[in-house]
Symmetry: D3
Subunit: 308 residues, 6 copies
Amino acid sequence: MGANTMNGSPTEASTARGGDVLAALPQHLVQQKVAEALAEDLGLAGDLTSQAIFSTTDQMKAEIVARAPCVVAGLALASAAFRQYDSSVETVQHVEDGARVPAGTVLMTLQGKARSLLGAERVALNFLGQLSGVATLTARFVDAVAGLPAQICCTRKTVPGLRALQKYAVRAGGGVNHRFGLFDAVLIKDNHIAAVGNLTRAIAQAKAQAGHLVKIEVEVDRLDQLSVALESGIDAVLLDNMDIKTLRQAVAMVRAAAAPIICEASGGITLDNVKAVAQTGVDLISVGALTHSAPCVDLGLDCVIDHR
Amino acid sequence: MGANTMNGSPTEASTARGGDVLAALPQHLVQQKVAEALAEDLGLAGDLTSQAIFSTTDQMKAEIVARAPCVVAGLALASAAFRQYDSSVETVQHVEDGARVPAGTVLMTLQGKARSLLGAERVALNFLGQLSGVATLTARFVDAVAGLPAQICCTRKTVPGLRALQKYAVRAGGGVNHRFGLFDAVLIKDNHIAAVGNLTRAIAQAKAQAGHLVKIEVEVDRLDQLSVALESGIDAVLLDNMDIKTLRQAVAMVRAAAAPIICEASGGITLDNVKAVAQTGVDLISVGALTHSAPCVDLGLDCVIDHR
Amino acid sequence: MGANTMNGSPTEASTARGGDVLAALPQHLVQQKVAEALAEDLGLAGDLTSQAIFSTTDQMKAEIVARAPCVVAGLALASAAFRQYDSSVETVQHVEDGARVPAGTVLMTLQGKARSLLGAERVALNFLGQLSGVATLTARFVDAVAGLPAQICCTRKTVPGLRALQKYAVRAGGGVNHRFGLFDAVLIKDNHIAAVGNLTRAIAQAKAQAGHLVKIEVEVDRLDQLSVALESGIDAVLLDNMDIKTLRQAVAMVRAAAAPIICEASGGITLDNVKAVAQTGVDLISVGALTHSAPCVDLGLDCVIDHR
Amino acid sequence: MGANTMNGSPTEASTARGGDVLAALPQHLVQQKVAEALAEDLGLAGDLTSQAIFSTTDQMKAEIVARAPCVVAGLALASAAFRQYDSSVETVQHVEDGARVPAGTVLMTLQGKARSLLGAERVALNFLGQLSGVATLTARFVDAVAGLPAQICCTRKTVPGLRALQKYAVRAGGGVNHRFGLFDAVLIKDNHIAAVGNLTRAIAQAKAQAGHLVKIEVEVDRLDQLSVALESGIDAVLLDNMDIKTLRQAVAMVRAAAAPIICEASGGITLDNVKAVAQTGVDLISVGALTHSAPCVDLGLDCVIDHR
Amino acid sequence: MGANTMNGSPTEASTARGGDVLAALPQHLVQQKVAEALAEDLGLAGDLTSQAIFSTTDQMKAEIVARAPCVVAGLALASAAFRQYDSSVETVQHVEDGARVPAGTVLMTLQGKARSLLGAERVALNFLGQLSGVATLTARFVDAVAGLPAQICCTRKTVPGLRALQKYAVRAGGGVNHRFGLFDAVLIKDNHIAAVGNLTRAIAQAKAQAGHLVKIEVEVDRLDQLSVALESGIDAVLLDNMDIKTLRQAVAMVRAAAAPIICEASGGITLDNVKAVAQTGVDLISVGALTHSAPCVDLGLDCVIDHR
Amino acid sequence: MGANTMNGSPTEASTARGGDVLAALPQHLVQQKVAEALAEDLGLAGDLTSQAIFSTTDQMKAEIVARAPCVVAGLALASAAFRQYDSSVETVQHVEDGARVPAGTVLMTLQGKARSLLGAERVALNFLGQLSGVATLTARFVDAVAGLPAQICCTRKTVPGLRALQKYAVRAGGGVNHRFGLFDAVLIKDNHIAAVGNLTRAIAQAKAQAGHLVKIEVEVDRLDQLSVALESGIDAVLLDNMDIKTLRQAVAMVRAAAAPIICEASGGITLDNVKAVAQTGVDLISVGALTHSAPCVDLGLDCVIDHR
């Protein structure tokens, strides 16, 4: 990760998006996903190591520290991991999700039984590292198009079971969300068109069947397809795998349409080419890698020795 | 991914490890994880697009194709996704998990209702892409130490909810598994030692408490700690974040011990330095990135148009 | 139910909407809801009566018969109830969901163990009766606006746990679906406006935050609110509790807007006034009663005595 | 609903049955059903509207108001909906389940975050409206037989998944409960008799097999069947679809039996004929409509603007 | 276990109760309990031993053999364990639940993959051993009262999670079932009476509140209490911890009552005293040990070597 | 149970193993198992008896008393049963798990609503009785080998669903745990050897496949097998069904091996022969009966009448 996009002193840490947006993570999913992850790590026998080494009363203080600059996401899950494991653990959160922090930032302080802190550590760090990874990669794309109108958007290429959490992390990184699933919008893709054999008919059927609050987007990879789509009256177009020149033409065609239509680019977007794509004037740039390939952020839990 | 490590024609595809090893993925986890992922993508309304566009009888044939060279893992999950969605879908698997395949390889052929193939496509590809990503990254590390005795090993730094599947993918890539959780071995880490303040005592307690079929490993980052650990009689040492020279000394100390002790290196292992680490003579090299940061493999589902 | 809207001989039975639309009921929900209902009815001891009276080999043939004219919905659930209970039960379905049938129509024939038919009977009939009730009430509203452009639409006022099934039944009755939940569209209602104190700001924030595939609808009950909403640029308006005259004015205002905006009427809609509402030219008429107060359709399972 | 049976000022509100009876709703079912309903309404993305419009700190005060006279049932579920969604919401309950209240009665006051009140509103109202609907319809039948010894009783014709809650609502309305499922009593019905071909044998087998704490009831629709049943020694008879005259004869036959036998009437019971049925002297009148067709009670959540 | 009560050759094996009674085990509980037990034994890593030793194609034939005389119960669970683990395993059942078999009897033959037979072996044997243990202990009590009218009955003192299965095993052993839970009958026990302070009032309230298909039993340990109970009109009495002489007096008092009342003895019942208790004329003798302390039956899975 | 091993006054009660060891029961399993058991006992209707007899405000004080000398295990489950049922119940625990107590000891005092104490009583006692049964039987075996180095060990012959709880109870009784499942160690048993036909090969494959933290144990029943196993280099041997003389020879062979190998005896171990087995010098003696056949401890809940 480029230190330049993420560095700054802790006091400079700023929130990529307001906490109000980020609060939209359904609380029941937080509790459910943490419970599943704890069960996965603890099995039937629990934490053999801590149980052997610590007494039930040994206390400990610890910090979760970012070992690399990052955008934070998932603090509520980290906290829930410790507190589901042992409700007497005290957690103090020092930043908010969406904060951009330099390496060395203390994200959370924990106090409680040594058994509890070290028993829930890995689950907490796994969530926080994965989600901060998504937020951080998102922020790098967001930074790369700074000043341009395009927004960075995620896809349905998510890690199975973590979709809602990952989409939240995209927001934490300054991105926006695409569909949450097959259920909340129509997106007519290349395979649909290939299988049905006729774009006009596909769009007509979608418009006839979709509920009045369901938007319709069509994926096209050629300008002639785009013409057809624009004539059919849709809400958004996904311009897939077009080169910059074609993209620019496509945007012009869309802007020439009577009704306002959202223009989304996708396919082979990288940190190297995303700015050029944004400069074509598209509204959205969707990047599967945000959720399918974001590297985990390096975080650690450090035992705090009290030398008083 | 370096094409050099993965290329070859489809006919050259070989299995990194025998299918017997790979078969060890508990079947109930396959069904459960696929069911959760389908529910996540379908919600209450199902696949709005396919339902609008296709009739219930429209048929389709499709292929899952690797768009990049990779080591395959997760075919059973991809197949289960289609067949849980619609048990009348026919799936034919053309390679086995663990196969190294070049870009363009057809991994699986599907035949059935258009609604079913496109409704379950994303869930199938998400599993297959994530797990093949883990297998592929593992294989690159395995290749990097080819000819040396060291094995490549995973950690507990896994994606929440996918641990068993990811550990399976590590095996598919030619790696070996470390602990599955806190419950199946003792690993005394830096924080345990810091909190308890005394390595000798920590080991003694672990040996006193652990069941007779539980092995004990100790993480050390200094040679003096290693001396203490070796005197206490343990099953394995985790040499953490040591430079190559120190690692070599550590291995020598371990080999000089009376009993055979497993020697594991970890911390900051990359494709660039893994060979040097392996040359120190360690038995195992554990790499968190295998499961926390493996990029997804690019796969696609291609509609097959039958022109007969 | 008015026999006039539903009567006709069995051979005249027609499907209100095509089976393609109706097939959109996610199969995993069917199996899950049926499993829960069977567990609810069987408890730990199972069917005390049938177990006492029938031997394990006693066979039976039975029919599910509509005792009143109705629009059928939920046949897949009825069939699943018998077959989850005992996979050897044979079910033959004589009509499709969406069929309008007169009293006396045999909907399904069953053959199998007497224990199995009578053990799963009530669960099957409860699903079929409830969902056919929704479809039948919907069809009565649909009939009442026949020839007019307005569509009949459901709401989120559903029976807890049955939302997806009830929304399916609305489609079976010829209606269309509104939002499936809080998650798939924005609907700014009176309480949101009251709490935020400013309609323009509420709409602006919704437009800023909502994803590009999320539509925005605003509920208004006065024409001055409607003016504000139309100026703010939204996708749909919900005209709540307006009298016919005001509704007509509202429709005119909406039609005068530059962009096409969906016009939905709601509030106090009954079979008596729905036609007048439709004549105002609204696109949609939403009726909470379709899902919160539809009376169950009277169905019976009749034992067929074979006199050969 | 007849205003005459339900009206009165709030201060006249009285509880149909004591709170002691009503407390019998298993608490784990309350929490489980509310959790399922919240998940159904919130999906992966949560409440898009409130999240967009309100900040995380916006506060709100609101009231749940009965818009029609009714008998209340389900307040614990409404409260649980808000508090599962956000444990900081304060709920104050102004009446008890079982209370008969006029239109306009404030049932519950709520204070907390605007996001939380409007996010859980619909789930709370759906439970409260459905269960109050059951209680209110029950109370109308109870009122119709006031002064007569017959009790109003529910059946197993319940909404799948809500049986325990609906049976509780029947009690809240002054009714009594029949079997909770197939597992807690034997009820030999017409289909059992038809299938087994011999009522005497069916009863004999039931008596031989049923546990000593399991009662046996037999459904008959003819007096000759009743004679057979009475001779066989049973605990209760269900007189199904008999006209008033036949019912009266049946009651006389039952009363003439040596042992006390419960006399239940069922089949085609309406508010119009229930009194006549009760006057035949039966002990119980069971009405499927109480749980399969009770219309939802009209309730609203009103935002309270504080004008101090 | 006394060989005398259980011996006989395999060909003499007889079924304690008809298969019709035993079929009453709800199938969904069988599948659910087996799934939970398999997950418990397999964890995330599966069967490490079989996966290491056998190839995926190694076949095996095996038998489940009773190593001690017993009454069999739970064959369906054993079979389900193998077939859930691997649906290609073939199981042949040689006896029926309820069969009394001598040591050495082959209960089931299995053929399939070695991995599957040895992977599911322990779960299958644990169910079969536990339930056959319950059936066998029950049969010993049943045998001890042979020729006397008393039936042997279980209690709610069951192993958590296995109540339905254990109650089924009691029936397989020739016993009968008491209440399945707190929900299907009223049993007023010593603590209820102590807490409410007045037996007459307790019975009166129970009679007033209980549904018309709910029976009422009262536990008494003194004859004066019994008098009160009999006057109050109840369905059954539980004579707790009475000596034989008192029991006889109690039975006489019960038989002198106008209505037939079930007479149950309990408390300190052993194989040594159960016949004397039965000779007092009680209808039922309930024995908690049947389900809380039945020793597991010794069963084994023997690998069958085919020497052809 | 021999009173001699368990008696003593309450003040002499001592803890068999330290609380630190016993604390290793994963908390989420406690809550989950208690929830399942409460649902099992309460069904849809709840506690019919207490609901009928007590008002919602009737208070009660009660004690859980050991009616026989025992080693206590499961107090957290008993407490959780009351508090899940009604969080206002106050529980005071008078001993710790692992305490050896004489008959008459008050283990726990409870205060709260009469409905809540008597509604959760049976679930609490069932857990506490079952687990104390396991602990008590374990302690008897532990006592029988007092002064000898052998430890008493459990097996996988556990009650389905209760494995983690039973293994905890074994520790409470002073025993140690064997494998928790098929997933945490390799144990090559007679059937594996029979099926694979070659012990040396089986061990070689296990060593090649097992992770570096997985121990390997081999079951042998003959000395020639033991020789083979010792040559292959394993971590532990299970000496199955050997007579005392053979056992002694086996131990000598194991001790003569170069590396330290754990020596476990199993098969037909009883309280009568366990001392002789221990005297052979084995490290561990595993006893299936600890978890498959431990009789339940007799406990009671006594209503405390306050006579102040």
